[in-house]
Amino acid sequence: MKAKISLILPIISVLVLLLLMPLVLKNYHLNILTEIIIFALYAVSYNLLLGYAGLLSFGHAMFFGLAAFVTGIAIIHLKGIGMITAIFLGVFSAFLAGVVIGSLLLRHKGSYFALLTLAFNALFYAVATKWHSVTGGDDGLNVPRPELNVIFAKIPVETVPQFYYFTLIVLGIVILFVWFFTRTAMGKTVLLMRENEERMKFIGYSTNLSRLILFIFTGTLAGLAGAFYTLHFRFVSISAISVEMTTVVLLMTFVGGTRTFWGPILGVFVYIILQNYLSDITDRWPLFMGLIFVFMVLFIPGGLSGFIMDMKERVAKKREVALEGNQL
């Protein structure tokens, strides 16, 4: 019981803090915070593959980008479409892509899996680039933000704080749900699969099926992030579906650390804040991002969250030592 409280308390306090943010922050920072929440879901879904299942994917952007494009195209071509329908269509397309690609990939692991996902991503990218009449090619698509109608009420989402609340509530609930998922039996099998797949098979689990479900699940989550990406920027271009978008999420996840659930969220926060400030100072900010990445790999392989956990343990140990010292 005590353990549960210590888990839930920080979550609630973070949520309350985030809900109060529009009272404190200016639109500029709120806009960045919205971006952070969207990428947080993207990174969390990526970490389910990388951190929890130990599957390195170079193709996560295909789900993100596909849903981003489908949402955008639906809004442009289907007159009078509501926001929820548009998001649903985007997410559903990512789900379908997950089913098809996942069933082709589920027997592969390690570098085969990584390279195949890269190949699929390249395929999606090529289609987005060449299919100019639909995707806009290099020009991209300008996407207006449609109305948000929940049952009979029309909820305004035009201004920065309004869209922030909408993003925070929807994606916040989804991220909490994902956190809950990692603690269910299904979530635990993912960990088992990473640690000892042979043994799992002996016990009687179908690891292929588990992997497929996980792949579809993470793809769908990335798709939801992609749909919000389009709605947030009101623009979608081939950048959203490029391999670069995968390396960005890989970098975010790695900077934050893959060992914990909240590590990637921290990574996204640091990455986007740094990116915004660095690109103000220098045009060569990817160089500094690269240097930071190299530094992290060499000296803090556990990421920022790993570093913080280490510190916590050390402090706890010191206190124990100090307590023992007092007793003597």
């Binding site: 806009n31 020009d139 009101r234 045009d283 930071i292 530094f295």
Partner: protein, 403 residues
């Protein structure tokens, strides 16, 4: 232990980096965001344009500023990606209330910026994005084009070639929207001005082609009197480099022939001498204001304002609109700019109210060996084509401006 210390150091460094720009905030100035590719393949184009805008701003600031306020330039590296440019611009609007943006490279960036400008009610003007659609079906009241477009520039080249009385013309262009739009406009005007002229070859190659031999041999076999091409950059360099030795002797009429980087990289002047082009700003344009501008620019910078002149003149044009409006209010400036005429180094420019496309003269150049600017071959003034002769009627642009 050592590792931990480095970890703390790293955290401290990143914290300082985050705080740095916050500590160095600007004073009360009018900010102008300039979206250009400042890294990557097209860096050289972006930096030359930015330099031109900077020079204009320096000139304005040296003369006491605009309506008594200094202008501050914020360079925005667009990476030639529309999403990057519009995201950075959006942040600048939210953070610093920037109301004015400009840019010259990439019509895709222009289309995204145009939408953003319209949504946020800020002004974006371009001095180099030429896709006709930007002031055509994608036009809006917040977007101004202070340069030519594919229609008018192709028209100008058609006027020039019709004057020369060529009986047959070969066309070679890049196989993407820009190349195709340029050729379509050229053929339309040519058929109108000189119906007897035949197009004996019309060839499209992928942008960034390495081997021009198949295209050149078709041109040579078609025996045209002259060649029209909207090619630019490396696609122009290689066309000349590989085509001339294969017997492609005809004069080439090109969109961007007077580019000192292209001619300099040829390494052999004989490949390009005699070719002609039209441009909205040229070093050799014989106006009194241009002579003064080129001389002053050379004195200040130590090089000539090729291309940079476009950014310069457009920014001066914008400043005129602000002066006429008498305030920095966006709606007032839009109103003031519509129909405004500006007599600058590149002649008289008039902003057409109906589609925000500047009506301007084209300066004709011919590439000659001896020129006052460079050791290698460069331009000589060879005439002017009036704005009236290349005007596209508003009802043909597809622009429906809403207020």
């Amino acid at each position: 232990m050592k590792r931990r210390k480095k970890g703390w150091l790293f955290l401290l460094c990143s914290f300082l980096m985050v705080l740095w720009p916050v500590l160095a905030m600007g004073a009360d100035t009018i900010k102008l965001g300039v979206t250009e590719p400042l890294s990557g393949t097209f860096k050289d184009i972006g930096e030359r344009y930015l330099d031109g805008v900077k020079y204009a701003v320096e000139t304005i600031n040296a003369g006491g500023g605009l309506l008594g306020k200094k202008i501050e330039i914020i360079p925005i590296d667009s990476e030639l990606k529309p999403d990057v440019a519009s995201r950075k611009a959006q942040n600048l609007i939210l953070k610093e209330g920037v109301k004015f943006f400009c840019g010259g490279t990439g019509s895709s960036v222009g289309a995204a910026m145009s939408q953003l400008a319209n949504r946020e009610n800020v002004i974006f003007y371009t001095y180099g994005m030429e896709a006709a659609s930007l002031t055509g079906d994608k036009c809006n009241k917040n977007f101004f084009r202070a340069t030519s477009n594919t229609d008018t520039r192709s028209y100008a080249l058609a006027v020039l070639m019709a004057q020369k009385g060529y009986k047959s013309i070969a066309i070679v262009a890049q196989d993407y929207s820009f190349g195709k739009e340029a050729v379509a406009a050229f053929k339309k005007k040519m058929a109108e001005l000189s119906p007897q002229t035949k197009i004996v070859a019309e060839l499209y190659h992928p942008a960034g082609t390495k081997d021009f031999a198949p295209y050149v041999s078709q041109i040579v076999a078609a025996k045209p009197d002259a060649i029209f091409t909207p090619n630019w950059g490396n696609d122009l360099t290689l066309l000349l480099k590989q085509g001339r030795p294969m017997g492609m002797k005809q004069k080439i009429f090109s969109y961007y022939i007077n580019d000192e980087v292209v001619i300099g990289s040829l390494g052999d002047d004989s490949l390009v001498i005699g070719d002609m082009g039209v441009e909205i700003y040229t070093l050799s344009a014989p106006t009194k204001k241009n002579k003064e501008f080129v001389a002053k620019f050379y004195k200040d910078r130590g090089y000539y304002p090729v291309m940079r002149g476009k950014g310069y003149v457009a920014t001066m044009f914008w400043a005129e609109a602000v002066k006429k409006a008498g305030s920095f209010d966006v709606n007032a400036i839009i109103k003031a700019w519509e129909g405004l005429s500006y007599d600058g180094p590149a002649g008289v420019w008039t902003m057409r109210a109906a589609d925000h496309q500047t009506q301007l003269p084209f300066w004709v150049v011919e590439i000659v060996k001896n020129n006052p600017y460079y050791k290698h071959a460069f331009e000589k003034h060879a005439g002017v084509i009036n704005a009236k002769d290349v005007e596209v009627p508003v009802d043909q642009t597809g622009c429906k401006m809403s207020n």
